[in-house]
Symmetry: C2
Amino acid sequence: MLYGALETKGRRMLCAVGNENGQILERVVIPTTTPEETMPKIIEFFKSKLDDSEGEAMTALGVASFGPVDVRENSKTYGTILHTPKIAWRNFPLLNTLKEALNNIPVGFDTDVNAALLAETTWGAARGLTDAAYVTVGTGIGMGAMSGGKLTHGMLHPEAGHIKMSVVEGDNYKGHCPSHGACFEGMASGLAIAERWGKSPKELADNPEVWDLEAKYIAQALTAIVYILSPQKIILGGGIMRQAQLFPLVRKYLLENINEYIDTKELRNINSYVCPASLNGNEGVIGALKLADMEAAKEA
Amino acid sequence: MLYGALETKGRRMLCAVGNENGQILERVVIPTTTPEETMPKIIEFFKSKLDDSEGEAMTALGVASFGPVDVRENSKTYGTILHTPKIAWRNFPLLNTLKEALNNIPVGFDTDVNAALLAETTWGAARGLTDAAYVTVGTGIGMGAMSGGKLTHGMLHPEAGHIKMSVVEGDNYKGHCPSHGACFEGMASGLAIAERWGKSPKELADNPEVWDLEAKYIAQALTAIVYILSPQKIILGGGIMRQAQLFPLVRKYLLENINEYIDTKELRNINSYVCPASLNGNEGVIGALKLADMEAAKEA
C-alpha cells in the first residue's frame, strides 16, 4: 500500500509517502508559515500522489500534528488545532481540510508525540508493548502515551511537559514557562537550559553540572509518569536527548527516586527501560504512516 | 447471574455476593490476619455460594485487592500479592488459591482502586467514560486509572500516591513516607495530616489551614494526573475526602495550577470534573462484581 504521512512542526511541514511497513519512499519539506500559504503546498504534494499514472496511488494519509489538537474521534472539532502559540493555526481544521482536498481518503490523525510512540511500539524500541511513553525533550517538552494498546487521548491528550517540578536544591532558575514557571518544560527544555546557563545546550556539552541538573528534572518527570501511567518502557527523544551523557544520569536518578518502592523486571533492566528513540529521528513521520494504515483498516 | 465479590483490605476482608447490575445481596466481613487464618474463612463463604440448593449458584468471582499486586494477565504470577508491608501476605497467590478452591470458576482480578474506578465508570459518576481516574485519600493514597476504556496495568499498576511533591511554602513537615519522604502520600495521607498537626483529621475538621494545605497537595497531584493521563473525570474517594470542604479548594487550586494552559469543556465544568465517589463507599466491592461479570463474559 502507498500511504501519505504528514508531520507538522512549528518551523516546517514534513510531507512523505511510504508503505505499510513504515518505509519512507519520498519526502519533501515545506516551511510552516500560515495555513493560507502552507496548506496549498501540502495539498499539492499529496494530491499528486492520488494519481496512479506514475505507479501506485496513495490510499490513505496519516497526520502527526503539533498540539494542542483535538484528537477525540467523536468530537465535532476532531482534527482541529486548538489554543497553540502559533496564532495563525489556532482553530484551523487540519484534518477536515486535508480530507476534503484529498477525495475523502481515510486520514488517520494524532499528536506528533503519540505518532512517534506508535512508530516505536510498531517498529522500534517498544515493539509489541501495550503500555509505553515517549517523552521528547527539545525546544519544548511533549509526551505520547499508550495504555492497554491504545494511544492516550482522554479529555485532550497528554501534556506532560507541564507537570510541576520540585525545584532542585541550589537551582535558582525560576523557569521560563509563561503559564507555569517551574514546570518540567519550564525547567528542563532546551530554552530553559539556554536561559539558565546563558549558552546554547550544544555549547554546554562539556559541562557536567548542566547535565546532572537536567537529568534530575527529567528523572523527576519520569517518576511521575511511572507512578501514574505504569509504562513498560519510556523512550526519550528530541534534540536535548542527543546529549547521550544524560541517559545514565536519568536512569540513576529515576531509580533513586523510586527507591525500591516498586520492584519489576523492567526497572531491574533499567538500560532497556529508559532508552533512546530508535528510528533515526523519523519516528513522527513513520508513526504517521502507521496512523494511515490503521485508519485505512478501520474504514475498509 | 449471581457473582461473588471480594474486597481485600489491610484490616478486613469484605466478602459479598451480588448480581450483574452491581447490586449487593449479602455481605460478611472477615478480619485480615494471615493467609493461613483468613483464607479458609473467605473460601468457606464463597464455597457455600457455589451450591444452588438455596437458590442460584455463584458463577464467577471478582477480586479487588490491595496492592502492590500482579495484575498482568499473561504473567506467571498473575494474581499474586507483591512486596506489601503486610508481610504475611507477600507473594501470596491470592487469585490461584481462590480459583482452585472454587472449582475453577472465572475469577476477575484487579487492584481495589481500579475496581472502584470500574464501578464508577459502569454505574457511578464516570458512567460511560473511557478515560478517568479514581484517587483515594485515606490512611494511604492510591489511584485507579482507565485509558481508552481499559483499566491501566502496564508494568505494574498506577501508584500515584508516590509522585514527588513540590513542598508548599511555609510547610515544614518532611513527609512520613519511608521510601520517598515528601511524596503525595507522605505529605497528604491521613497519617501525614495526623503527624503534621498532632491531631486526628477528624479533630482538625474546623481548622481551615489544615484543609487549605491538604487541598494544595491533592491539587498538585491531580495536575500531574491531568497532564500525564488526560482523564475525562477525576473521582476522589477515601476517608479524608469526607471533609467536603476539600472539594472547592482542590478544584480552585487545580485550575490555578493549570492556569488556562489547557482549555476543555471538562475543566470549564470543574464541579463535575473533580467529584466525590458516588457509590456510598461500596465502589470497591461493586467493582469486584463487575470484574466477575467481565471475566465470566471472557471465559464464556
